[in-house]
Amino acid sequence: MARTAKKNPVDAIFSVVTAAASFTVIIFIAAILYELVHESSPAIARFGIWKFLSSTDWNPVTESFGALTNIYGTVLTTFLSLLMAIPVAIGIAVFVTEISPSFLKGPIGVAIELLAAIPSIIYGMWGLFTLSPIMSKYIEPFLKKIFSGLPVVGILFHGTPMGIDILTASIILSIMIIPFTASISRDSFNLTPAVVKESAYALGATKWEVVKNVVIPYSKVGVFGGIVLSLGRALGETMAVAFVLGNNHRITTSLFDAAATITVTLANEFAEADNDVYLSSLFYLALVLFVMSFITLAVAKFFLLRAERKYSR
């Protein structure tokens, strides 16, 4: 270690280049934030912060805009998709690492990675032309028949099933984020030391007990990281849901109703936003999403760090 980077010119150049590469990221983030604030300033001046966040109005004709319907749609579809994706993803990871015979591990792993490589517009078109008819013809009428009579849950399943709704969008989103959660969970499960697992087996633990009491607690942090990554993807996903969500600026209780997310509104309305306040409000929406993503990631990072510290002790 005596040969320091300072003495070797190649090393010095190398350090500068890598540092420059890293700083571009910070510069990009700052530039995007500046641009968003700058472009949305007319809307901020007109609607303020609290009024914009709490208003359910989205009316380009009267130039009255509020973000609440979009935030609601974003949070709801993200939450539902995580709800559906996490059990499946963890199931995949457990199967691949602990249960499956080794000749199956390769094909399943490749399939997961392929799923992650499909562009989101393909999911969107597939959702519109394939999934949405299936949902409206078979799955949603079936769900409605079962649940609509029940007292509280029934609220979620009323209305005419059209296949262009929160439920369909959430299913597509969940399919999109399964690969992220699954492959990261698989990798963290693999990090569980074989010695620990074997000791558990030696004590007479069953496979279920090993997974429940050894593997999952050991790799909690990694799994959580995978979930956060998918959360980030679900928050920002645009084209996959733009086709099947209907861009309906209303707060609805039924999963069979159309809704709007922030990104869906942007994708649908940006090109034809023909007056300044409208355009500025769309930038304002983007700023809201930026802050939302930032907060989510910050909270996740905080928990991850805390968990890591607990483990290292």
Partner: protein
């Protein structure tokens, strides 16, 4: 290093060509609706004159912004701008081609061109006030049709679009309740129904959902053989969407060069006029005289030689009388 040198050389050669070509390229940006016909015209025009036309279909809003900031030679918009706005931004405006909007229905047993609707019925369906096809108002228009007692699913666009702007301007023009409750624009607060993204989204939902109604561009309805409805025009006749009825609308509408052709081509007074149509417009910067002359030369050529191509793509060419008005407007503003 040799590879690097080669790449640099190739790039340099390519760049120098790009430079030569740049002198012969017109840059335009705007509405997505006329993009296919503009690029078809540009392709033919390039063969005749060598002039290249680079048209970016980024949407009308983007087209207006880009020409206002003078980053392109011409902008294109589906919505006409008012003269005051044009004066403020030092712009000029003329119509280039016409498109129409067609209501399409999906009712079991009802074929294309059979259903008759008037403005009141269309408006009340889209307001959510007429809920069933068996409503007396629709029955009285279609006494011979066997209309089902099923709920109407209203389909509209979920994305902002010139098609929606034309459709909502039509509704605002004929229906006071629509004007006060909803209004007109590229995207509005729909009181009823579900939203499909793009013409394909609306067509797909309308086809799939029995007992539904939607609205799409004429070209889209024509090419996909959708069950269009007949509409009653202000002259009191039921007309079907066709080149003839669109041309009639454009010829009888009062396009005024003094107002920079600022007009929504809805509810035209002609006997055979289709009531829901719209011209798509070209915007020019007043001071860019050099490139303006090239742009008008292109559209002059397209007006003379492009009608057949436009019709092949199911766009409605401007009627001769309107072309003459546009040419006079060019002359008066020193564009030709």
């Amino acid at each position: 290093m040799k590879v690097l040198l080669k790449i640099t050389l190739v790039l340099a050669v390519m760049l120098s060509f790009a430079h030569v070509e740049a002198a012969e390229t017109l840059n335009g940006a705007g509405a997505t609706f006329p993009y296919p016909v503009y690029s078809a015209w540009a392709f033919d025009y390039n063969k005749v004159t060598g002039m290249r036309l680079n048209y970016q279909s980024i949407g009308s809003g983007g087209g207006i912004r880009q020409i206002t900031e003078r980053t392109v030679d011409f902008g294109a918009s589906d919505a006409p701008l008012a003269s005051e706005k044009l004066q403020k931004d030092k712009l000029l405006q003329f119509p280039a081609v016409i498109g129409g909007v067609v209501p399409v229905v999906n009712i079991p047993g009802v074929k294309a061109g059979v259903m008759k609707l008037d403005s009141d019925a269309v408006c009340k369906i889209y307001l959510g006030e007429i809920k069933k096809w068996s409503d007396p108002r629709i029955k009285s228009l279609n006494p011979k049709l066997n209309l089902p007692d099923t709920e109407i699913t209203v389909v509209h666009r979920s994305d902002g679009s010139g098609t929606t702007a034309i459709f909502t301007n039509y509704l605002s023009g004929v229906c006071p309740a629509w004007k006060t409750k909803v209004g007109a624009g590229t995207s509005v607060n729909w009181p009823a129904g579900i939203g499909g993204k793009g013409n394909e989204g609306v067509a797909s939902y309308t086809k799939r959902q029995a007992s539904s109604i939607g609205y799409v561009e004429f070209a889209y309805a024509e090419q996909n053989k959708l069950a269009y409805a007949l509409l009653k025009n202000p002259a009191g006749n039921f007309v079907e969407p066709s080149f003839k009825t669109f041309e009639d609308a454009a010829a009888t509408a009062n396009f005024d060069p003094k107002k920079d052709f600022n007009l929504w081509l809805v509810n035209a007074p002609g006997k055979n006029s289709w009531p829901i149509a719209g011209a798509t417009f070209i915007l020019l910067a007043q001071e860019k005289t050099g490139s303006n002359k090239k742009v008008t030369a292109f559209y002059d050529w397209a007006f003379k030689n492009g009608d057949r191509k436009a019709k092949e793509l199911v766009y409605v060419p401007l009627p001769a009388s309107l072309k003459d008005k546009v040419r006079a407007y060019w002359k008066a503003n020193g564009l030709q």
